[in-house]
């Protein structure tokens, strides 16, 4: 059966060779929309084909890929998501991170579904894409500037209708958790994509596109797109959730005892009411800040008046509140927002940043780091300590040079028992859900393809709904969510309309053919998502020795120390319970006992070439 793609894609890949200072445009491979959909699927396929095992993540042979999906920029709720990916300097395996805002719509309107940065520029530069015009220009004095300051300069230079993706000093200095920033405070934060951009010496990507995104049935899309907005407007959550955005969940996570607190020592932060969504909304918010086409803007742009001064910042959103707030014990929304601002301006992922700061403070408390090494006495709950550490890290000053490698490497260098409380999986720091009393969330973290990240499977609500003590059905739920949530990343859109206000998944299946001309059931789209999941697992297995069961595990703190206090006091998931979850998970996936995709499973998923690479 031959199918023709009739819309949704610009149809081209733009490749920029930074070593040679040239670019070329190639057609999107004909089978990619069908086999990989877009966004994360394109990133995964391109990296698998073009970045070989052994390549240095921060060397010229790694590639930084930015991709839109077929639904990006098309009239429907939450159409502004963009996917960045590269071989991760954080884990050594497959890395990606998505970002909201207005980038992918602009990229598609310029005529490209995918942008690939290859090689390494000799001098710091910026890439300016204006439809068919592609230029590399010297970065000049933008190099070294903070993200907010540099973006403001570029917006003034090029105009409001250009979109900017850029790195801060942390990316320039190859900090392993440097992010890519966009639209004054949105970040592709995870897996060190900002360090990869820094290694290529690209300070900023500036894009304007004026072309029309082709649609198979424009009137059909228009009619259905409007219905999708009306459906969002009619949901009770439209009004209830939107005022607070992701910060709304702070109360609930504390009440169930799952809030990262004091470097994940415990799971309840007594001062959480001071850093929740209500405090964000009522005390510091200036304006809501939505991504392209979003009816439920979770972005809150704020003005912090902290003990260290004032700052304008987008956020803090939930993850930042959890990791800079609870995990560093900052019990004041102004202080959390100020630390958020420091991360944003420096270009640091606030999730890993909060982890590394908390790890360093715990090391200091235990005498594993000294005042002489750090430059000051560190303590939890102290904004000065957190800001001091973040600045050391971004500039790789003193002990910051070691901390800039992330908690895994830092704990290996510090030694003693610090690995026990270096909270990561596979080198990527843990996000905002303490999981010792949430089996499916624990399984989600230890099996997520990029390391300890929640957005592949946010299953903690399922644990609470069906019972947190049972393991039954948990692995199946994780597999389901690991296909559903990353599918949004393939489509190039936001999942929060579905997650947060109960928007019906059927809409996407119905509008997909009107956009692309391809008839797909949701189940068929999920099958693609499973293909991509196996592809990224295979990528990492080829790049990192031992990737598999041996690395699918949490830090020792979570297996050995029961939660000391709060609503989940005394709870723990044991090693044998973890293995029971993993056995079931691997079986459901059709993977072997070591957690690697079998030859048969890969072939059945249409990945015969990957099966040959892995198994001969």
């Amino acid at each position: 059966m031959s199918e023709t793609v009739k819309g949704g894609y610009a149809g081209q890949i733009l490749r920029v060779d930074l070593t040679a200072g040239t670019h070329r445009v190639q057609p999107l491979p004909a089978d990619w929309p069908v086999k990989y959909i877009g966004g994360r699927g394109f990133v995964a396929r391109l990296l698998y084909e073009e970045v070989a095992p052994g390549v240095d993540p921060l060397g010229p042979e790694n590639k930084l890929v930015m991709a839109a999906g077929p639904l990006s920029g098309v009239l429907l709720p939450g159409c502004g998501k963009t996917h960045f990916g590269a071989k991760s300097p954080t884990t050594g395996g497959y890395g990606d991170s998505n970002i909201g805002g207005h980038l992918s719509p602009e990229l598609k309107q310029a005529g490209y579904d995918v942008l690939v940065l290859e090689g390494q520029a000799k001098e710091p530069c910026i890439l300016v894409i204006d439809d068919d015009s592609v230029k590399l220009l010297p970065a000049g004095d933008l190099w070294g500037k903070g993200c907010y300051e540099a973006e403001e300069t570029l917006k003034k230079r090029y105009g409001e209708d250009f979109q900017v993706a850029l790195i801060g000093p942390a990316g320039e200095n190859l900090v392993k958790f440097a992010c890519i920033s966009h639209d004054f405070g949105r970040q592709a934060g995870r897996t060190g994509v900002g360090a990869v951009m820094g290694s290529k010496r690209v300070k900023a990507i500036v894009i304007r596109g004026t072309k029309t995104i082709p649609l198979a049935d424009p009137q059909g899309v228009y009619a259905m797109g409007k219905q999708m907005y009306e459906s969002c407007f009619s949901k009770p959550g439209f009004k209830k959730w939107t005022p607070y955005g992701t910060a709304e969940v702070v109360d609930w996570v504390n009440e169930i005892g799952a809030f990262p607190t004091r470097n994940f020592k415990t799971s309840y932060f007594p001062e959480y009411k001071q850093i929740n969504g209500v405090r964000l909304r009522e005390d510091i918010r200036q304006t809501d800040k939505g991504c392209m086409g979003c009816p439920i803007p979770c972005g809150k742009y704020s003005k912090a008046r902290s003990s260290m001064g004032e700052a304008m910042v987008e956020g803090p959103e939930y993850e930042t509140i959890a990791l800079l707030g609870g995990n560093c014990c900052l019990g004041n929304i102004h202080d959390v927002a100020y630390a958020n601002y420091i991360c944003d301006e420096l270009g640091l992922d606030s999730i890993s940043g909060g982890n590394v700061a908390a790890f360093a403070i715990e090391c200091f408390e235990k005498g594993l780091l000294t005042e002489e090494q750090v430059g000051m006495a560190l303590s939890f709950g102290d904004l000065k300590s957190v800001v001091h550490l973040l600045k050391l890290i971004a500039h790789r000053d003193g002990v910051g040079d070691m901390l800039a490698e992330g908690v895994k490497t830092a704990s290996e260098r510090i030694g003693h028992d610090s690995a026990k409380f270096a909270i990561h999986v596979k080198g990527l720091e843990w996000t905002g859900y303490e999981s010792r009393y949430s089996p499916s969330q624990m399984l989600s973290y230890i099996t997520a393809d990029i390391g300890a990240h929640h957005n592949r499977s946010w299953a903690i609500t399922y644990d609470v709904a069906v019972g947190r003590d049972t393991l039954e059905g948990k692995a199946a739920k994780v597999v389901e969510l690991q296909h559903t949530r990353p599918l949004f990343d393939c489509l190039g859109i936001c999942r929060l309309q579905w997650v947060e206000i109960g928007f019906d998944l059927n809409w996407y299946e119905t509008i997909f053919p009107k956009i692309t001309g391809l008839n797909r059931t949701w189940q068929e789209l999920l099958h693609v998502s499973e293909r991509v999941w196996n592809l990224t697992r295979a990528f990492s297995a080829r790049h990192v020795p031992g990737w598999g069961r041996g690395l699918d595990r949490p830090p020792a703190r979570f297996l050995e120390e029961p939660i000391p206090d709060g609503p989940a006091k005394g709870k723990l998931i044991t090693e044998s319970q973890m293995n029971e979850l993993l056995d079931e998970y691997y079986r459901l996936r059709g993977w072997n006992d070591n957690g690697l995709p079998t030859k048969e499973r890969l072939v059945a998923l249409g990945l015969a070439d990957v099966a040959a690479d892995l198994w001969g």
Binding site: G73, V74, L75, G80, H102, P105, Q109, Y148, E149, E151, E152, K155, E160, D161, D183, F184, G209, T210, K211, T212, I213, L215, P218, Q219, V221, Y222, G225, K226, Y229, C232, F233, S234, P236, F238, K239, K240, T242, P243, R281, E282, R285, Q286, T287, D288, K289, G290, C291, M292, G293, C294, P295, I296, P297, G299, Y301, S302, K303, M312
Partner: protein, 154 residues
Amino acid sequence: MRLATKDDLCSGCRTCQLVCALQNHGANNPKFATIRIIGHFPKPGAYEVQVCDECGICRDVCPVEAIYDVNGHLEIDRSLCTGCQACVAACPKGVIAMHATWESPFKCVHCGACAEYCPTGAIYDGDLYTPEQAWRITRDEMIERAKAGGDGNE
């Protein structure tokens, strides 16, 4: 229909521009829209919405008198328009659209689609509502309604 705006409700999502282009051109291209969203970041951290208010300057500057009143709104007569773009340059709001693929500029026809689908009520029909009534979501009111558990989407 008279378009009115309330800047502090705008979240910069540009749904209005997508709707405008599909309604009037059948094309998914916000660059066709006759609405401008301007972000003022990092300071003061606010959005500004610009729509046509029928000020008449475009009519006054048109050298061939191609812009005139049709049913209460100024429209560009494409049979007369020479494509000189004097109106585009003169529009104080910057909301007369022009595109490399067009022969004539396009001016807002006050169809109201942007107001209908603006998720926050930042663009609304000024003939039907006062600024207070038009709020679908407001900073304070939204919190109150959410607390009360009401839908509040009148």
